[in-house]
């Protein structure tokens, strides 16, 4: 019996999200996690464009990608300044 057969759907979702570092994102990893999710959306969007199907899903994926890009830029812009090495 495989691991996925033994798990309930909730446990599987929990594991998938934990492995992706998305259950509780570490405070210094938001930009990285946004980039990871963007990559997944880009892969899916490319598939939808290649098969030329799912116009609604394609639009929705493109919109989500735009949202993630906007969030990434803002999160990076609001990032705290790294400590000045001369003061260390």
């Amino acid at each position: 019996m495989s691991r996925s057969d033994e798990e309930t759907e909730e446990q599987q979702v929990w594991r998938v999200l934990s492995e992706a570092g998305l259950v509780e994102i570490r405070l210094d990893e938001f930009a990285e996690r946004i980039r990871d999710v963007k990559r997944i959306v880009i892969v899916r969007l490319r598939e939808l464009l290649d098969f030329d199907t799912g116009i609604k899903e394609r639009e929705s994926a493109a919109y989500s990608l735009g949202t993630l890009k906007g969030l990434e830029l803002k999160v990076l812009a609001n990032a705290p300044e790294p400590p000045d090495p001369s003061e260390m």
Binding site: E10, V13, L17, F30, D36, I40, V41, S64, T67
Partner: protein, 137 residues
């Protein structure tokens, strides 16, 4: 005021009610606070405290092991779009997701988890279909 801090709740009387004292894990240990409301996010429930902090259900003491999470297709398009607008607006106002247990932190966490599940599952379905097609050939 009722408390969930000393007596663990069972699945039958979960979640705690508004005005109850709840205890929860923090990065430094454990704390208690008064529950203002329980709110469904895109994936899991968030417990909003009277002091404004937002704590995911799985960090509240007494949370049943069998978690109740939403399925991706239970989230309507307009709910997702409203969430996206709120997040962009919060980011635009200069709010920082690195402030743990605040609303932007909580909502961005859930949005990223939801978006990951949504597109990762779609990708897995495509791979399954492709695998079945290759198996047939």
């Amino acid at each position: 005021m009722k408390s969930t801090a000393k007596q663990p709740r069972s699945e039958a009387n979960w979640p705690p009610e508004e005005g109850e004292l709840v205890s929860f894990k923090t990065s430094t240990g454990s704390e208690t606070a008064i529950l203002k409301e329980v709110h469904w996010g895109l994936v899991w429930r968030d417990f909003i405290l009277e002091d404004g902090r937002v704590i995911p259900e799985h960090r509240i003491s007494g949370c049943p092991q069998r978690r109740v999470w939403r399925k991706i297709d239970e989230v309507a398009d307009n709910e997702r779009e409203e969430c996206e607008e709120r997040l962009l607006s919060m980011a635009g106002c200069g709010m920082d997701p690195r402030k743990r247990d605040q609303s932007f932190w909580a909502e961005l966490n859930q949005y990223l988890a939801y978006t990951y599940l949504r597109f990762k599952q779609a990708e897995c379905k495509v791979q399954d279909t492709e695998r079945r097609r290759i198996d047939r050939e």
